[in-house]
Symmetry: C2
Subunit: 330 residues, 2 copies
């Protein structure tokens, strides 16, 4: 296993300690129960925005804690849901009287544990379940998975919470963004979970995985390696068919790397994706390119679009100051 690691058991803790030291101006790290919280909390009545999930997707979610985005994030073990006591402790640490909104990626373990935390939490709370992965059909038995679109929900709802939106407004906004967002990923390699020590799935030198999940789950299909243009055409068509945007629609285009793919290739995919949607009459009004929702060291990327309106553009443009997303007034 080719990783910078001491032991499997302390990998996550050492990594979080390093993250916390490098970003001590923005966040605090509580090791037990484990959560990362925003350092500055002086907005009585503000809705507290909390997310979490298995680790291995960094910077999601820990890198998005800070002004204009999350108030806390609960990292589970690699690809494993955090426990309700982490969520509860985080909620109690950051709740300021405005209630708590949990942003939950749609995986059975995460949904269950956030539900338990929600029931145990005394403060008013609600949840947004993110399910933007269109590689599974809409009527899939456990619903669609939450993937790179989660960042967009967290950014925009974070902006709303920062500027005084109520819990009900934040929840409604989050649900609305989720419905306006679609993602799909492709992988060129598997990833290697430290505790397993070998790639999660086998894939041939001339094969790729279409519709892959962010835990190294096999995708819709294993196909021979395609060119970048063919990949974008294939994936963008599925996304476009799902959201079915009208001509003239403004979109946010997010190209997300899975951790093992360099920026050069992500920009190449971005350029091809802009051409695809511009040819269909859409307007790329906002964009984000980089490794944001990763699957450890997997080589691959996902394409996400969100259909924008004036409110969503305002929420996207609002200042954000976190470890991994930063713009506007600091």
């Amino acid at each position: 296993m080719k990783k910078f690691i001491d032991t499997v058991d302390n990998f996550l803790h050492e990594s979080l300690e390093g993250f916390a030291k490098a970003n001590s101006d923005i966040i605090d790290f509580n090791p037990e129960p484990r959560y990362i919280k925003r350092k500055t909390l002086k907005q009585p009545g503000k809705v507290a925005l909390i997310s979490g999930g298995g680790s291995g997707h960094e910077p999601l979610h820990i890198g998005f804690v800070g002004k204009g985005m999350l108030d806390a994030a609960c990292p589970g073990q690699i690809f494993t849901s955090p426990s309700p006591d982490q969520m509860l402790a985080a909620a109690e640490a950051v709740e300021q009287g405005g209630g708590v909104l949990f942003v939950v990626k749609n995986y059975a373990g995460d949904v269950m544990n956030f539900e338990i935390a929600s029931e145990m939490l005394e403060a008013a709370n609600a949840s947004v379940i993110v399910s933007d992965d269109v590689s599974l059909p809409k009527d899939h038995s456990t619903g669609r998975r939450g993937v790179a679109g989660t960042l967009i929900v967290e950014k925009m709802v974070g902006a709303a919470a920062e500027t005084g939106a109520t819990l009900a407004e934040c929840k409604a906004l989050g649900d609305r963004i989720n419905l306006a967002t679609a993602s799909m990923g492709v992988a060129l390699t598997s990833c290697t979970v430290p505790a397993l020590g070998q790639p999660t799935f086998a894939i041939g030198d001339n094969e790729m995985e279409i519709g892959v999940g962010i835990h190294g789950e096999r995708g819709r299909e294993t196909v021979p390696l395609k060119s970048a243009s063919e990949i974008v055409e294939h994936v963008a068509t599925i996304i476009d068919d799902d959201l079915n945007p009208q001509k003239g629609q403004e979109i946010l285009l997010h190209i997300n790397g899975f951790g093992g793919t360099p920026l050069t290739e992500l920009y190449l995919i971005y350029g091809l994706a802009t051409k695809f949607w511009e040819q269909r009459g859409l307007v790329i009004a906002r964009s984000l390119v980089g490794n944001y929702t990763t699957a450890l060291d997997m080589a691959g990327c996902s394409i996400t679009i969100t259909l924008l309106d004036d409110e969503l553009k305002r929420m996207w443009d609002a200042p954000v100051h976190t470890a991994s997303l930063r713009w506007g007034d600091q």
Copy 2:
């Protein structure tokens, strides 16, 4: 070859097109001769800061063009020096009467081509040669290579140029930062140059490369895989011996990923490196963790420190607004 690519011939151009589209608020892309330049140029008398080098190290240098950092960057083919006509065209496009400072990584081809451009350019100009890689001895025949410390030179000198420093002052500052900076890298895998289609060097499943360059050059030694703690101890000791900082010295600690290593592992290395230098009585006053000076898809990282003083801290903290480095007033 597992890459998002259409053809080897148009890989770089398609990637730069995507980069330019995604960052059209900050930069302009001139395809022939090829350079990226800052969009807003309205500071008569400002020193123009220009860098460049082989592509494949993104975001270096293109991602660092913008307010408070570079005025232009000249991307060569993958791992190949740009040509003097690119540098000359870029210089003529961004020169505002304050002269031009070239920031050049110490590789024979880059140094030669920047020298030719320097001689051809009518405007006053100077060069800073970055040579921060301590994996080679100080008296190495072609000098030490320029690696991740280049970003630090570009950031700090960019801040000085932005606030009115003269060409001579910028040149002296750049040379001073270079002498105060030391880097060393380790690789767990090779990288794959598109035109080659296969890994640049062979490395066993249980081996790693110590002192590797950013072009997949073999390092000082190939050794059995070590733990993260052993790697940090080994590399940080060589860096520390080279700069020989005094107790109480403030440093900037930069952990740089080579493109195929996820953030989780870089933060783990960061945490261990902070412990190493704190135990030696140094103060980690500033830090940067992420994939900034890459070698295509190589898995690995480098550790860089810069010895700080009040001026360098001010230059590091100054606002920067580029595609890949952004803080302070926007």
